[in-house]
């Protein structure tokens, strides 16, 4: 249905100035966003931040208060869901319990001038595609959660929609199945080349599956970027805190390119912040270097290991130091390194905080 001609390079979906009010409460505030054909985009954020609300606005299920949604060059802002072009999978799957799996998948294919035989062929093809051939005669309640999820997916893509919307499709499953299905869903999306939006509150899910991630908080977009960008260069302290683990240390600017952390001065990009400004210095535990560090290097200070936490493939060390005062840094050390350097609690070592991995945020960060 969305066959409107589209210039190459134009976004497939364009959302501008979207706001959604529930009474006096603004669930979405001035959301603008572009999504390109074939992209896999994740809406990521804590529970209650408005991800589902945004997805439902895109689907037309709960239309926004103000703002526009354009799909394939057409303004669909006010259209009801039935006049839009999308397939959707809900967290609950919403499979029709009284219909067999095959009937569920075929539901959208009916009344489309398709012959019975064609429908049957297409259903078999779809069941094959999601890896559940020969399950067509069962009822949804006879399938496992992961299988139901795949049937819901097959039903949604049966009619070849231009846009696939997934609302926390994996969060009702156990961890093992979830990891497995991440790959399945992602490779299916690649093969079909279908533009996909997935809502999730699980950062790992978003980082492994998405081409681009939209990080949201309190109804606003915090950052849009590829998983690597989001992880490496979190644009706000919220993103830095929400994704991965981050050391946050209070500090202040000491001239261009310099910040102080306790008595320690660090060289880093201060991004034009004024002298004396209070900032939060952020650095990821895995970016802190303790191997081959010499006292002459940049951003080096002596520290004591005051705690070690074994976390499987690596060890998280808590580093205290006189120069940093109250603030303690966490550093992730590989098992290999631990073996070679035989680091133990109470040891003293030289710590380097690489300049390129330091991020500076204005003001102080409140930890929940």
């Amino acid at each position: 249905m969305s066959e409107a001609q589209q210039a190459p390079g134009e976004p497939y979906l364009r959302i501008s100035g979207l706001t959604k009010m529930f009474g006096p409460f603004a669930a979405l505030k001035d959301i603008s966003l572009e999504i390109f054909e074939g992209e896999f985009v994740c809406f990521l954020g804590p529970s209650g931040c408005g991800k589902t609300t945004l997805l439902r606005a895109i689907a037309g299920l709960d239309i926004q208060t103000t703002g526009t949604v354009e799909q394939a060059g057409c303004d669909i802002s006010a259209l009801p869901p039935a006049e839009r072009d999308f397939g959707i999978v809900f967290q609950s799957y919403a499979l029709f319990p009284n219909m067999s799996v095959a009937k569920n998948v075929a539901y959208g294919l009916e009344n489309r001038k398709m012959s019975k035989a064609d429908i049957r062929r297409r259903v078999n093809e779809l069941l094959e595609l999601v890896g559940l051939p020969e399950q067509g005669d069962k009822y949804p309640s006879q399938l496992s959660g992961g299988q139901q999820q795949r049937i819901a997916l097959a039903r949604a893509i049966a009619v070849s929609p231009g846009l696939l919307l997934l609302d926390e499709p994996l969060s009702a499953l156990d961890a093992k199945v979830r990891v497995h299905l991440r790959h399945e869903v992602k490779s299916l999306q690649r093969r079909l080349g279908i533009t996909t939006i997935m809502v999730t509150h699980d950062q790992e899910e978003a980082l492994t599956m998405a081409d681009r991630i939209v990080v949201m908080d309190h109804g606003k977009i915090e950052q849009i970027g590829t998983p690597l960008e989001i992880y490496r260069e979190p644009g706000t302290s919220f993103v830095a805190d929400f994704i991965g683990t981050m050391n946050f240390v209070p500090g202040s600017v000491r001239g261009p390119g310099r910040v102080s952390m306790g008595e320690l001065e660090l060289v880093c990009d201060t991004d034009g912040l004024a002298d004396g400004a209070h900032v939060t210095i952020a650095v990821r535990p895995e970016d802190i270097v303790v191997q081959g560090v010499t006292a002459e290097d940049e951003n080096v200070y002596p520290a004591q290991v005051c705690g070690l936490e074994f976390l499987g493939s690596f060890v998280r060390a808590e580093l205290a130091s006189e120069v940093t005062g109250e603030s303690r840094l966490l550093a992730d050390l590989s098992i290999n390194l631990m073996r070679h350097q035989s680091i133990a609690e109470g040891d003293s070592l030289l710590v380097r905080v690489p300049k390129e991995h330091i991020r500076i945020y204005r003001g102080s960060v409140s930890h929940e």
Binding site: K29, G108, Y139
Partner: protein
């Protein structure tokens, strides 16, 4: 003002476009809404305005009310009604609580059987316990001596009949609230070494307080609005309900009937509103996670409870047995030989066997059309998109019938449908108006049953269907109805049984060709043919009970057929 709110004001607000489905759903809802308007709101409005008019239709303000309150014989009925309702409420709630307690907290055998027995009164018109009391305690009754000189005709008789009539309603409500108890609370209390009595008053009673309050208000409303029991056994003890009947049927004083109706409407509406608030709180309790309580056998306690439950069951079955005996006895108390003499309804006033067949027809129509209307209406309210005010208005209309006593509804129909200018006037005295009034009278409970079932469905079925471009009616027929079939059957059975037993609304509406069994019971009793009245009452009981049994097996069959896909 927040920044976002300011932005909303500056940017144009998106006006959602209604889809074809939306427009169709709204149209259907409009149709059912108009039905409720015509069958409920308009008649009530006309009745209210009638109470402010004189015989000739001139507006007289509250003159009728002044006359009413200055006529001691009439105003005294208010006291009588309140008295009867209050005493009934206290007795019924205590009896029902003990019964429900026995069924949920003791280890007595045959709980299912006892629970079914308590449902007996639902299957008979409220006239029937009155008739049984006449045979038991009347002037030549079987055990009149037990009353020690008191007369059964009056408050004693009315209260006993009302307790019989209201008991099942209270028991259902209290059982529900007792079965949501959390065993962890009891374990905590026991570990604190609280005494049994203390646990009872600090854990048990507070735990089911909403159930008790709700039951009290339901019983109070039923008792104050009931017409059958005071009509048969009230003697010259007047209550509001019988006053309406007498004003309208006896004296043809419709305006005064309207005034009494308004007076009767007040406690009913108040009780209804309190009950709604309480029900909402109870629902909130229900959704809380609890570990269900498993009663432990305690010999002495279980024996006492069993004795009590048997006693109540004997009371309930006994009333029916007396009626059946009375129906079979040739000429009580002079010729006690048994026979079917009293079943020759055709030689008596009251409508004969035709009335019985009419009742069955009426009940079938009511169950069939009523279920379709009620379930569709509930579906449209629950699953419709947008159209918030329309849906809220519909919901309000659907809740109203619960607060309107049957007699009041019936009288309102006289005013509305009998009005010379009403194009729907041709409906008066027809089967159609009996069916309409009965559907409307019992609308609310059916509507709530349907809503409960619909709320249990996944909320996204409709969203999925519209994303797949399938019309809503297809999903309704192929998914919603099959999944809700048990609830749909419950609604139809509820409507059928109530249509068989109701007297109050239809008493003003039946015509020469549309006499009903329940009305025949009343009229035969009025004419002194008490034995045939009992016989006809028992026919109603057997029919309703038979349908219930059918329903039971039907549901079992359905359960087996659909257990492949039903999630247990």
């Amino acid at each position: 003002m927040s920044r976002a709110a300011a932005e909303v004001l500056s940017a144009p607000i998106v006006k959602p476009k209604a889809s074809r489905d939306d427009r169709m759903m709204r149209a259907f809802m409009g149709v059912i809404g108009v039905y409720l308007l015509v069958s409920l709101a308009l008649p009530l409005y006309v009745m209210l305005s009638k109470s402010l008019e004189d015989h000739d239709g001139a507006f007289v303000g509250i003159a009728n009310y002044i006359e009413y309150f200055s006529t001691p014989a009439l105003a005294y009925s208010i006291n009588n009604s309140l008295y009867i309702a209050t005493v009934t409420t206290v007795i019924t709630v205590v009896l029902a609580f003990t019964f429900a307690y026995a069924l949920t907290r003791s280890c007595i055998p045959f709980k299912g059987l006892f629970k079914s027995i308590t449902m007996i009164p639902i299957l008979v018109p409220s006239l029937l316990p009155g008739i049984a009391l006449v045979y038991l305690f009347g002037n030549q009754g079987l055990i009149t001596g037990l009353l020690m000189g008191n007369s059964i005709y009056g408050p004693i008789g009315i209260v006993i009949a009302e307790v019989f009539f209201t008991l099942p309603h209270a028991i259902i409500i209290i059982i529900t609230s007792l079965s949501i108890a959390d065993s962890r609370l009891y374990e905590a209390a026991i570990s604190l070494r609280a005494s049994k009595l203390r646990i009872f008053f600090t854990v048990t009673i507070p735990g089911c307080r909403y159930g008790l309050i709700s039951a009290a208000f339901v019983v109070f409303t039923l008792a104050i609005t009931d017409f059958g029991a005071p009509k048969v056994i009230g003697g010259d003890f007047n209550v509001l309900a019988t006053d309406i009947y007498k004003q309208v049927i006896g004296q043809q004083n419709f305006e005064m009937g309207a005034v009494v109706s308004v007076v009767l409407l007040i406690p009913a509406v108040l009780a209804f509103m309190v009950d709604r608030v309480v029900q909402r709180k109870q629902v909130a309790l229900l959704s809380a996670r609890a570990v269900p309580l498993e009663p432990q056998p305690k010999r002495g306690f279980d024996l006492v409870m069993l004795g009590y439950v048997v006693l109540v069951s004997i009371f309930l079955i006994g009333m029916l047995a007396v009626c059946q005996y009375a129906a079979l006895v040739k000429f009580y108390p002079y010729d006690l030989s048994l026979g079917l003499h009293n079943y020759r309804f055709d030689v008596m006033d009251g409508g004969g066997w035709d009335a019985y067949y009419n009742s069955i027809k009426m009940a079938l129509y009511t169950a069939f059309f009523g279920t379709i209307v009620v379930f569709s209406g509930a579906y449209l309210v629950e699953k419709g998109r947008g159209f918030r005010h329309g849906r809220a208005a519909f919901q309000f209309l659907a809740m109203m019938p619960m607060a309107v006593p049957g007699l009041v509804l019936g009288l309102a129909y006289i005013f509305f449908f009998n009005h010379p200018d009403n194009p729907l006037g041709f409906l008066y005295h027809t089967m159609a108006i009996l069916v309409i009034s009965t559907i409307t009278h019992f609308y609310t409970v059916s509507h709530l049953t349907a809503l409960t079932a619909l709320k249990q469905l996944d909320a996204e079925f409709e969203a999925v269907a519209s994303s797949l471009k399938q019309p809503f009616y297809k999903t309704f027929v192929r998914v919603t109805v099959p999944v809700c079939l048990p609830a749909i059957l419950d609604i139809s059975i509820y409507l059928f049984v109530n249509a068989m037993t109701t007297v109050s609304a239809v008493i003003f509406l039946y015509g020469p060709d549309t006499n009903l069994a329940s009305v025949a019971v009343l009229n035969m009793d009025d004419a002194g043919d008490i034995a045939p009245a009992a016989a006809m009452g028992m026919m109603i009981f057997y029919t309703a009970a038979g349908v219930r049994v059918l329903h039971y097996f039907g549901s079992r069959w359905l359960e087996r057929r659909t257990q492949a896909w039903r999630v247990r």
